[in-house]
Symmetry: C5
């Protein structure tokens, strides 16, 4: 049942190099105690689980089939759930008998590059939280330090609050990405008025594409969170529901901003197209003005370039200058006409 979902034009989930080591880490804490163990074997790790503490198991890089199977066996994870962890999923929350499963996308904006997506899954049990990341990341590091130093409320709370904090950190990062897009849109807005070009158009298209992918990550997240908030299975404590509610509000706010950015981007497209058309119009006007002035003149000088034996004007002493003057009058007339037509 291993689905090979490459879905090519979409941003690749940042996949870890095959040879990268799987990183296993367990942080156990309660109000009084704290321990952190990294680089354990899976068997050693499972022995570290303390029933009276919150046990946060973090798994980076998901290549070790054996490890996953042991986790699956120990925590009684459903086979569909393991499939969901390993494969590209839309963000969702699912209640099982013994745990809540939550999966969403982490976003990284590597400067000058496009957005990187990483799937991040959580299994929230009674006194444990397992987090699965696709590659080793440091987004949670400052928060690990906060736990160690017992800052904030986290040490006084259960595993559900830990889940809230981790999801909140991920969603906060969405704002960074969105702000970055916002700044880009503003830059293009400035640029498009001054020096529109094909490059501007490509930038707009790039932003449109990023917004399309962002929507795919953020819209289902709203549904997933609303499912957590309803929480028919009681994995989240009553008083902590409000925290997830708060993330929900942030996600709705993000969606509003995505829609706003989408509208702004389509406005930018309108401006680009209008600029293109205005330029075309100007080019055509120059061509028409030049043609309209010089075609009649060229005709006139052509007339007096004819070799008829009998052409009285040619004999006149002032004929040449009369014709020059006449052509000058035509030019002046034309220019006035174009001014009147507001072509300049």
């Amino acid at each position: 049942m291993s689905k090979q979902k490459s879905k090519s034009p979409e941003p690749k989930l940042a996949s870890a190099p095959e040879n990268q080591k799987i990183i296993l880490e367990i942080i156990s804490y309660n109000a009084e105690q704290y321990s952190r163990n990294s680089d354990l074997s899976i068997d050693a790790l499972l022995k570290e689980l303390k029933p009276d503490r919150v046990n946060w198991i973090n798994v980076d890089c998901l290549h070790d089939q054996a490890l996953l199977e042991k986790l699956q066996a120990h925590f009684n994870l459903h086979s569909l759930l393991v499939d969901d962890i390993l494969n590209d999923q839309r963000p969702k929350a699912e209640e099982y008998d013994d745990y809540l499963f939550f999966t969403l996308k982490m976003l990284y904006r590597i400067e000058g590059h496009s957005i990187d997506y990483e799937q991040c899954s959580f299994v929230l049990g009674n006194n444990y939280l397992i987090s699965f990341q696709e590659k080793e990341g440091d987004m949670f590091d400052p928060f690990r330090e906060r736990i160690r130093l017992d800052q904030g409320k986290v040490r006084k709370k259960k595993a559900d609050y830990l889940l809230y904090r981790l999801v909140d950190i991920i969603v906060d990062n969405y704002y960074t990405v969105l702000d970055n897009i916002g700044e880009k849109i503003e830059d293009i807005e400035d640029e498009i008025q001054r020096t529109p070009s094909n490059k501007t158009f490509q930038k707009i298209q790039a932003i449109k594409k990023e917004l399309i992918y962002l929507r795919k990550a953020v819209y289902p997240l709203r549904d997933a969170l609303s499912r957590v908030i309803k929480d028919e299975f009681g994995f989240i404590e009553e008083e902590n529901i409000r925290f997830f509610s708060d993330i929900y509000d942030h996600v709705v706010h993000l969606i509003d901003s995505l829609e706003t950015y989408k509208d702004l981007t389509s406005s930018l497209m309108d401006i680009h197209i209008n600029t293109m058309n205005t330029r075309m119009n100007e080019v055509m006007k120059v061509l028409t003005v030049i043609s309209t002035i010089f075609m009649p003149l060229t005709f006139i000088v052509g007339v007096y370039g004819m070799n008829f034996r009998y052409m009285p004007e040619l004999e006149w002493h002032w004929g040449y200058f009369t014709v020059l003057g006449f052509m000058l009058l035509i030019v002046i007339g034309m220019i006035r006409y174009f001014k009147y037509k507001k072509w300049f």
Copy 2:
């Protein structure tokens, strides 16, 4: 958890200069009594609270961390709520155990400029209402005077009616802003028929952008109000629900108008594009008419400018005039043809 949400291309929330004084004010009233105290320290203010009156605390400029913490402690405000007050939020209503939280956007249209947004939050408790504004404003001043003079029903009512009146004042101001946009649309409609230009296009785009931001402020407000109206927690008295219902109707009316303006703006875009195309067509017609008339003529005079030794026409006495006449016939023919084709 302090989110730095700059979201650049969006209208900046009007942020107060850092050195601006926080303004604290308390108005306490009931049907018989009225007192107003400004520029108190937060501790002095909290002593002014009268349990048998409606206490309206107004906080302008939100920089003083200490002040907020004291308010938070005294009224038992939730930490998420304080976050929501300090950061850019979508309009929403949220019930807590002891109070109702309501946040929305105030709109200012500074003449000749675009719309200014200010976040305004309310905490409605049993006998108090706390209002948080980002900068010192005078939108509520006339109403403060009405309270003092005991005009209208406000002195006979509870804090929930006070909330209604303040929200109503803010929403009424939306109409002013929308009317202003309406007038602009009408101006552009006149202008676009007479003298369309790139400037007109930019004006249309500016209005489109304002409508995009207005939607972001008004749509969630409808949901927030519908939540207040349902009022499952009883912060609003039964008989006052109808007043919030009335604001709800106004907001729906505003949304209708926003949609109408959006449609009108997109009609304006169609007109603009059509005008551009019509002009392009006209320019092309002038070019084609001129070319079609003068190219054959220039060819003909070119023929008789050739230097062949034996060209019988050149010797004819009336050759020159015959050719001139012939060319005149061509011109007349062409003009008739273009008239027939309705190119003039």
Copy 3:
């Protein structure tokens, strides 16, 4: 709380001249009795109310503050309701304790002009119906006559049936307006194929604008009627619900037609744009054909207009005619090429 909602580009609600007299009229009837009194003072009118009859009070032109206050006092009208009568509202139905409030837009299509909107409000009480119109109208006159002559069922029914008949008359008038638009669309359809012009485009835009405003009047009416049909407060007799249901069906039918007309109008726009482009193409083809034929010819005659001492062709006796013949061949070749390319 008097909102000045001018909303400029929208069709002005037909406002009565200030000096126009307010017209007060009361019609009281039951199966046996009928009386009609016009031009009463408000105090006299209120004495005319008969508890055992249906009392229909009609108020035209809403400038007399005193009159409204007396009505408000006598019928215990809510202050928000009076606001709603006086200000531009979206169509809605609202239940109060003692009466049902219903407001909608009357439509007039003044021939050759655009649509005129007038707000019409109803207060349906136990044995009375008050109708508020903004200016004196005669839309209800034929129906008043029917009441007097005891035609139809109206004299046997209560005030709720009277409300049904009046709303039905107003909604029926929507059909007239819509038919008028339908005919216009058909006219434009004919015209656009034969003689498209900028005027046609303006007509399409005018219809689009009218449809935008009609939507604003008709869509909320559906919601208002569905609220009346649910009728949780029992202002409408069970057996009369079906009549309001029938109006509801008509309004839904109107909405279908509006959507159809919207689609047809956007089709017309497509046709217009296509016609413009086709013409542009044709103009360009003429230009290109002319240029392609005459530019080479003009070049050739230019060659033989050069003054080189040694140009052997010039000396040939048949040189001139050879060149003419050669040019003729070129023209024939070109025309064949264009025929082949289907440019004619």
Copy 4:
């Protein structure tokens, strides 16, 4: 209350000529018995009703006011229902106390013409079904024969099954119409690639228009059927609900196809516009290539057509051929440049 809904640009409901005879027919049957009487007077017909059989009364052409009144009186038809039969209605189902009212559109595609719409209404009572058609049709004739010959289940079933069969016949006919449109779309698809023209565009527009009207007929039918399926009033036997459910599925399938055709048609529009633009581009390229080649050449020969006394080149013996050669080089250079730019 007779609404004159002409709604001009819409397809006229196929209206019968005024002088056409109203056709009344009654078919009474049960499992054992069968009788069919045509051209009865209405009074005679009403006597033919057999309480122990299913009585199918068919009324073609609805001009005889007296006839309708007698039917109305006999079956206790609601006045609103008679209005609905006589006037253009959106498809709907409505329950009355004694009968179910169902109205929908019949579709005819007359070859080479556009679609003809006819309104068809049904009144389903306890042991009778009245069908109202606007003109005499033969769509039901094969089915009448099946009843007579006792084919299928119809003779064993009640009037509700008869209604199902008739509606099924009408909806089946929609498929024929839709297939016809499908074939047309395929034809245009072929044509547009080979010989696009203004005629193709008009065909696309014609299909778009037909789809607009079809939507108006099919979408409300879904709602009407879903109302029948819910059947809160028990006019349909439990076991026959599934049959109406089946028609419902067909209508949803039709709606899917309509949407698909709409998308395909808008794709055709894109292709048409693209073809137009490609052609324009080609025309412009020809013009530009010709101009770019011949303008410099014409200039050069113009130079040597000047009459300056002292122009050394003119005296050279090979001057003429040098110039011709030089011009040939220019032409070759140009052509290479255009080849490089991929203009050919």
Copy 5:
């Protein structure tokens, strides 16, 4: 009631040649036993049904009326259900008294061709599953092998799990098709930037068309699955609901991807149109630059080609070179002007 739904422009359901043999196969299994019989007659097959096993009957090619009637009689299949199997249906699930009916589309992408659709229907009874395919396929073959070898859980489960596995195999295949489209979109994205052409446009249109048909297959599948999940009739065991839930999630994921691809395709269209316009602009610029430079020059040399008796410049010794120099100055000026206008 046999509907001939050809619906021409849609992808034909891959119809089997008439002479192809109907293939009947029965696989009966439980945890311990397994038997497979092919090419049985229908009567023989029905005898093979084992009440204590899961009986999977597979019917390929649906031409044998007699066979279907026997199946219908034996399993008591509803006549509407048989119609649905034989005719093109939108994916749906329907509960009958004794079985669940499920129909969906199988997708094949034949390399280099467009997508092939095949309708696949399932009847899930108590201990049997009948699958109907339109032509002999091998999509299920690897899975048949898995059953035989008793791999996975299928032998331990009931018929509902078998249905899940088959539907899962079909839906998994959708991913392959979608990935293929994804790759195509990526190819076009590369191509459109480098060498856009009319062919690229046709490729985009082809993808758009495939997406239109895919939507028609996938969207109703979501509804059908949600109906199975609700499962009010208990055909699916409680613990297996989660598996269908998983397919549902996949289908929603597919729909997300379809929407994403639709947006990407419309972006490609924008890019194509922009490229076309940019090229047009460039062509026009070349034309205008050439005309603007050479028209004045041609005029000037025309002036000195006139044959006036008295033209002083012609007599000057350096007249010719002065004019050549003057023209050179004009050319330089023009080029500077165009550089300034950024036309190069």
